[in-house]
Amino acid sequence: MDFKRIRYLLEKFWEGETSLAEEKELKRFFNRKYVPEEFREYQAYFIFLNESKKITLSNEEKLETKIEGITDVSKKLKVYRRKRTIFNYTKVAATFLILLVATIIYQTEIKVKKTPQVVREDTYKDPEVALAEAKKALLLVSAQLNSGSKYVVEISHLSAADKYFKNTKQEKK
């Protein structure tokens, strides 16, 4: 074995100048059972590289069944997606429906509230007649108001009696 060449390749390797073929040569060299003392320092790295490349998927069967699933079920996946979009359309439709019902209710409510408006209209054509009628109505109201006043006069007698009793009490003292 030409150690001079290995030394040269190794130096080139750490400089990042080696070609893929040269790197393969180094890997081969370092994966022998016996490696001279002077190269031991870096042997571990090349063993690491070789061993790392042997790592495989731990559960290949699982992946294979998944792959079969992917390649077969691809049609189903499409159907599923289409279902999803239909579902989205129904969402949009439902929202529109709610909005429509809400606006209908809102508008009818407002119409109902607006109808009982106070209608201002003259009931009499002649202002004189209107005045007479108004006076009559007001007099009627005032007569009704005065109807209770005589009881109020009677109540005032009570306060006179109260005064009398108070005076007699003071005289006794």
Binding site: E41, F48, I55, N59, E60, K62, I70, S74
Partner: protein, 169 residues
């Protein structure tokens, strides 16, 4: 036609994709999920399959993007420790296996400690043996950046190897 193409050109990349995803996310289950997601994406875009001359590079690029998305997602716990890489070490005696395993785990940590780009480049170049052109394709970088980052990454690893050696770790 698509299925044949898919089986011949896409599926054989599975272990490379898995290793690359594992390098980024550091979790076997997550890495497996990512490989599945990549295949699903490729299959769903199978009508464009003929546009990609290098299917493998396209798959690797998808793997990189999905892995980085996963790492950056909120649901991905950044606090969790990276799983140790499980190296086969076939053909070594049990004693050698345990001896080597310690050193190799350290190297794995060295690589994981590298800046993102350098880490990806080491995985693609030193482990998988891709050409600079292919790496540039996968990582969407120019050739110069690949070379510079590869040099820096190897230099860091070399320094750390020398340190472990001299401290007898």
């Amino acid at each position: 036609m698509f299925l044949e193409d898919f089986k011949n050109r896409v599926l054989p990349t599975k272990n490379k994709l898995y290793r690359f995803a594992f390098r980024i996310v550091g979790d076997t289950d997550e890495a497996e999920d990512i490989v599945q997601e990549v295949f699903l994406k490729v299959w769903n875009n199978r009508s464009e399959m003929h546009l990609y001359r290098n299917m493998e590079a396209w798959c690797m690029r998808l793997t990189k993007n999905l892995s980085l998305d996963k790492v950056k997602s909120k649901s991905f716990k950044t606090s969790r420790e990276k799983q140790e890489v499980d190296l086969p070490l076939n053909g070594y005696s049990p004693h050698q296996q345990t001896e080597w395993n310690d050193v190799l785990q350290k190297i794995d940590v060295f690589i994981n400690e590298l800046p993102e780009k350098q880490k990806h480049i080491i995985q693609l170049r030193d482990v998988e043996g891709y050409s600079y052109k292919e790496i540039a394709d996968i990582l969407e970088l120019d050739l110069n950046q690949i070379k510079v980052n590869l040099f820096r990454a190897r230099k860091t690893i070399k320094d750390k190897l020398q340190k472990t050696e001299s401290y007898g770790l």
